[in-house]
Each structure stands twice: as structure tokens, then as C-alpha cells.
Symmetry: C2
Subunit: 413 residues, 2 copies
């Protein structure tokens, strides 16, 4: 992509009302735009990053048998009344709207109800189980305040997978698979080392649910980490009983602020009972389907990656989720040579952003640091004297010269 054509502009300052670091950096770098508090548009650069994260999540969900579908945002109240989640006294972040005939509709803040209802039409016998379905779909949440950038929005894309099993043992086995898949996702996105499997409240149907908490000052949660066991406990269950249950000693745990980047939850038969999701077992007996739900917000994950990977000059993207792999900067009168390198990179499908703009070297360097693409290649008359380009990793200070015929080879390995 040519930067001269890219629909983006870097900004020296973030909007004054933007207090969160992730949004400040993402707005300054031209990744997102703030429509209003908690509502962000994704510009081409940001959309590329989000889609890389989505592709990683999709791959891991497919690998454990997930099938992708796409439910609706508009929600029929009747369904939610059955689970007693329509009332604003019970769920305090509904956005609601009305049809022309004045009938109320909701905007999905989650999709347990419609998906369970849908499963009623698709599951009748033990032969129809298990089923694992997921989607990437917008959720709407009427948050009272929204000050965390893309970490907590009023409108955001969510990956939610729902599991339908014949019995608790089936759910338990899939739950472990999902746990492992989630771990892979956070590893691949470059925040694995800072992300802890965290025990949290399981509600009325299971002892615990599990969160994946990324240690970060911007986090809204407080967790207690056991480095030895590589797990953590959410503050909400940080008590003697749970410590004993998990074999942890209070003194050995470290307190930290953290961002909940994913959660997995055994729903049991809560929704299947309320909405009549049953199946006939091999003896012809009716049984309730046993469910689980598994969420990751790709936008929140992107915001977390930014919060954890930046310096005073801008973002430092991990390679797997960077908008481009290479940022090629053309300085001075080197257009012909830079174009040739850009062409060669493209020919080998090496994703490159080509800064061909008519602007100063200072601006190009500053923008490259702000945007944070992993590898910076500079073509200047000085480098060309040595038939080379200057290579620098965004995450390191040192530079090296790479001979022009070797550039593509460098990125192929």
C-alpha cells in the first residue's frame, strides 16, 4: 500500500477528551476514529490489524470444531423475557429501540438467548450433539461511562462461541479444549506471557468460570497471581476457601491490575431449561442440553496489545497482528530504487506500507515510529551509495545495512 494513497493521517495530539492510552495512540497513528465516547470507527490501518486478530481467533475456533454463523443485532423481547433478562432493572446496559408499530426491540448485548432458541430448531436427538458455533458480531452495551478507548466500548465486535453438549462430561472436555485454544490465541497475538488463566466466579451453575487476564495498568480488574502455578485469582473470589481449594498460599500471590481479554463460562442447563433446548438420548429419554459460552473481544484484544506494546514514540506491533510487516521509507531523490524494492516486496507477498509521500524525512521517521510496523526499511542516497537499504526493527535501536538484492530474501525466511 502506498502511504500517499492511504486513507489516514497521523496526528501530533490525540483529542483532549481522550484519556485512554490505547485510543490516544490508535487515533494519533490513524488506526481508529472516535465517533463518540465508546464508539470508534476503524480506519484502513486499524481494520487491517483487527482483521489479523480476527483471522487468528477464527483459525483457533475452527481448529476445535467451531462453525461460524452470524446472528442479528435486533432482538425480539419475547425471547429475553423467558430468561428474565429483558427488564432494565436486571440488565442495565440494554440499548432499546422501536418498530414503526411501537413494538420494542433490543440491540444485542450478548447472544445466548437467540442462539439457544436457534439450537432448539437444530438439536432434537443425541445424534445432533455436540455442536460448537461462533460468530464475530457487533454487541451494543449502554455503558454509563466509556473512558477506556477500545477496551470497553458501547459498540464493539465480539467473538462469542457457544457449545452444546449432551452431558457435563462433554462440556468439561470441550471446555479444556477451548482453554487451550484461548491460550494459543493470546500467545499468537504476542501477549501470552502477560496473560494469566484466572479463576473467577462461576455463578450459580459451576464453581468457577475462567478469565484470561492480561497484566496491565489500564486494566479494570484486580487479580492475584501465582507465578509458580502460572494462574491467577480474580479479586471477586480471592478468599480463604478458594485459596485452599486451589492449593495457593495468600502470601505467595502478587496483586496486579489486569485487562480481561477473554472469558469462558460453563452455563450448564440455565439457558436450555429456560428456552426448552432438549434432546432425546439413546434410550429415548428427554435431556437438557449442557451449554458453555466463550468470549473474546477482538477490539479489546487489539487495545490490550497497544497498551502493552508501546514506547514514548508510538506503538510497537507484534509481527502477527501488525498492519504491515515492512514499512518502506523513501527519502530524497531515490524514487526509482524505492519503487523497485516496493515492487519486489509485493511480488513476494511481503506486506509493505510504502511511504512515498512528498514530506520531510523527519515526518516519515516520526510517523513510522508512531504507526509501529515491525520492520523499517529506509532508502536514501546514502544507503544507495552502498547498494543497500537501512533496516531497523521497531523494537530495537540498532540499524543495519542490507544489500538491495538481499532485501526480499531477508523477509522470506
Amino acid at each position: 500500500m502506498r502511504q500517499s494513497q492511504l486513507f489516514t493521517k497521523t496526528q501530533k495530539q490525540a483529542p483532549k477528551d481522550e484519556v485512554s492510552l490505547n485510543a490516544q495512540l490508535l487515533i494519533r497513528g490513524g488506526f481508529v476514529d472516535k465517533e463518540m465516547a465508546g464508539v470508534y470507527s476503524f480506519l484502513p490501518l486499524g481494520w487491517r490489524v483487527l482483521n489479523k486478530i480476527i483471522a487468528i481467533i477464527r483459525q483457533e475456533m475452527n481448529a476445535i470444531g467451531g462453525q461460524e454463523l452470524f446472528l442479528t443485532a435486533l432482538q425480539n423481547p419475547e425471547l429475553w423475557k423467558k430468561t428474565k433478562r429483558w427488564d432494565d432493572e436486571v440488565v442495565d446496559d440494554w440499548f432499546k429501540t422501536k418498530l414503526k408499530n411501537d413494538n420494542e426491540l433490543g440491540l444485542s448485548f450478548t447472544h445466548e438467548e437467540p442462539l439457544t432458541n436457534l439450537a432448539v430448531k437444530h438439536v432434537g436427538s443425541y445424534k445432533d450433539l455436540p455442536k460448537y458455533v461462533y460468530q464475530f458480531q457487533t454487541k451494543f452495551r449502554n455503558e454509563l461511562r466509556a473512558k477506556s478507548g477500545i477496551l470497553r466500548g458501547r459498540e464493539f465486535i465480539m467473538k462469542d462461541l457457544y457449545s452444546f453438549n449432551a452431558d457435563q462430561a462433554g462440556l468439561d472436555a470441550f471446555y479444556e479444549q477451548a482453554k487451550a485454544a484461548y491460550k494459543k490465541i493470546f500467545d499468537r497475538c504476542g501477549i501470552g506471557e502477560k496473560t494469566f488463566l484466572t479463576f473467577a466466579s462461576g455463578g450459580s451453575f459451576s464453581k468457577y468460570s475462567h478469565e484470561f487476564q492480561a497484566v496491565c495498568e489500564a486494566g479494570e480488574d484486580l487479580i492475584y497471581i501465582s507465578q509458580k502455578k502460572n494462574i491467577a485469582i480474580n479479586k471477586e473470589v480471592h478468599n480463604d476457601e478458594v485459596l485452599a481449594d486451589l492449593g495457593l498460599e495468600k502470601e505467595a500471590l502478587t496483586e496486579a491490575k489486569a485487562i480481561e481479554v477473554g472469558n469462558i463460562f460453563k452455563l450448564g442447563t440455565k439457558f436450555s431449561q429456560a428456552l426448552g433446548l432438549k434432546y432425546k438420548d439413546e434410550e429415548g429419554q428427554e435431556q437438557n442440553v449442557v451449554m458453555g459460552s466463550y468470549g473474546i473481544g477482538p477490539g479489546r484484544l487489539m487495545g490490550t496489545v497497544v497498551e502493552l506494546n508501546n514506547d514514548e514514540r508510538g506503538i510497537v506491533w507484534p509481527e502477527a497482528v501488525a498492519p504491515f510487516r515492512v514499512h518502506l521509507l523513501q527519502l530524497g531523490d531515490t524514487q526509482k530504487e524505492a519503487e523497485k524494492i516496493y515492487h519486489d516486496l509485493q511480488a513476494q507477498n511481503i506486506e509493505a506500507l510504502f511511504d512515498d509521500r512528498d514530506t520531510t524525512p523527519g515526518q516519515k521517521f516520526a510517523d513510522a515510529d508512531l504507526i509501529g510496523i515491525p520492520y523499517r526499511l529506509v532508502v536514501s542516497s546514502k544507503t544507495l551509495e552502498k547498494n543497500s537499504v537501512e533496516l531497523k526493527k521497531r523494537s530495537e535501536e540498532k540499524t543495519e545495512l542490507v544489500k538491495i538484492p538481499d532485501v526480499v530474501k531477508y523477509f522470506e525466511c
Copy 2:
């Protein structure tokens, strides 16, 4: 994909309240589910089809320089008041909602306003132009009635591209490129021959807009086709002046009902004037940016493909948008051989739905016809006697035997 695991079930009957043919077939085949009137969820089979259509559109939009981004559904009223499109008296299909502080928000029925507003931040000089950006994003329209299945929904994904040019000549040139790209899209989706470039009202800023109208009984529009010139006129501009202007004779035109599968529109400076989208030209003079908008609803396009490609037994998907290319049916005690063929097809990335279900041959044949995958392969003890499988195209009646070692080869070409 194994059909035994697919989250879908075919149905003998569509819901009684479903009057549109496209929705009847898509519901019966397990492609979509009706959440409420005009609001459909996409099940895994339908989501595959929709994404194939989206991929075709994306490719053609990128080919003419489009950059993908993603705007928000929630809309700030202030922006829409500036263009006088907030009032329900002016725009009668808004869905509106409220923040906790009682401030009103809208749900996007289109995105000219937010995108023009966004462009103000990204366009300041002639050097920043042209720009072409597009998205696939949900639109919400509060239709009084919604009886056309996925042809006209209250919630649907829309591809909308917006062009920003320095002058009318730039817009005119891009407009022709977009026209050609649209033609390619409808050709690739298999409805090109029935789709006519149609002259429609241009509003106050240009003589005509252009629609792409697919001739179909389910259509809501009436068009007048000139087979000779391969164009049509929408009823709204079917008058002597326009006929003379286009050099058409009234008697030579054929009237037909049609579905508007795409439209392209020269917006001129309407939105840039209202929202202050200006740039400095080479002489430093301020000029209004000249805009165009270009829409296709992938869901409506999918519905149109179904309306135009079906028979009494079900859907007949064109190959480019079919959920799978091959439907492999295992009949009787042939599991081992069928599994081997399924494995070989997968190994060559030939998309196959494998009907491995424990059900009758009659059910499998009926479902295959209903689902409408282009190639049906039957493995039975009879075909195995000849070391073969039976091949049948969904669009033809004749069958042929293909030797098992030649099956993969057949689909590779």
C-alpha cells in the same frame, strides 16, 4: 465439512408467515433463520454463501483502488442535523435509541454523513485526493413492512463505497470504473445476463443515477429494457424527455419487474458543502470535494441469486457463490470408500460437503437438491462395483460414472 456435524437442518416446509420465495428456500435449506420479519440470521451454510459474495465484491472494490474500513452503527444526531436528515419527517426509516443520559442516538441507515465528516480530518490538500473507501457494515432500516425475505431487511449488511475527487472530471472517470466493476460483480455472481444498467433519477445534483436491475418477478421495481442497447430505464424516469436523451424508442422497450441489486450515484458537493469537506487546490484556493456513492447489499444479491436460480426441488447455486463445490453422498455400507474420496477432495482444497449422516438415500437426495450444491457425487455399492462414483450437476438431469482415481482430477480442472 461433514453434514452430520453441520449446524443446520433442512425443513420440508418453510414457516407459514414467510411469503417470499428466497426466504422460503433459504430457510428450508438451512441457510438462514428468521429472527423476526425482515431480520434474518445466517447459519453456517448461508454465511459461507454470503462470504463468497462479499469476497467477490471486495476483490472488485480493491481492484479500482478501494480501501476497506469499518464505521459505526451508532450515530450522533448532531451530524445528521447538519444535512437535515435527522428528522423522522425527512427520513422515515430511522431506528433510534438513547444513551443513559437520555441523549438520542441513531442506528445507521446509511453512512454518507459520518464518512464525509471523517474525510474532513483526512483531506486538506489536492495531494490528499482522490480517495476511495468502502465497508461491509450493517444498516438498520425501520421498514413499515418487510415481506421480501433477504431482499429487503430491517437489518442487513451493505457494501457502500464513497469516492472523493478533486473535481467533476475525476468523479466522472471513477464513476465509469465503478460501473465496470459492478458489471463484473454481477457477472461473477452468475446473474450478469439478467442484470441491466438502468437509468434512474439523479436527484438535484446530476442528471441520472444508475441502478443495476436484475429482471425478476420478485422485484419491486418496474424497468423498461432496450435489448439492443443493453440498458434499461427505471419507471421513475420513463418519459419522452429521457427517451429522447438516450436515443430510445418507446415501442422498442420491454417492461419487466426487477430487483435493484446495486446503485451508483454522483453526490456532487451536496454532502461536502453541508459538512465542510474542502481542500486547497494547487493555487491555494479552497474547493469543495466532489463525491459519489456506490452500494451493493450482499444479502439482497444472495436473495436475487436464489430467486433466479431454483427449481421445484430447491436452489441451484452458481458455482462462484455456492456454499461448497461438491456434495458427496454416502449411500449404504460404503463408508470406507466415501471417507477416502472425502479425504482426497479435502487434500486438494476442493470444498466438499460430505453427507455422512445416518439417514435414508431418499432424504440425502432430496436435501442435496434443496441445498443446491453444483456437483453431486454419489458413492453406493452399485457405483463401487464399477470402481466409480456417480456424478451429476445440479443444473442438469444426466448422470455419469467417474472412476474413483479420476474424481479429484475432474475437479482440479
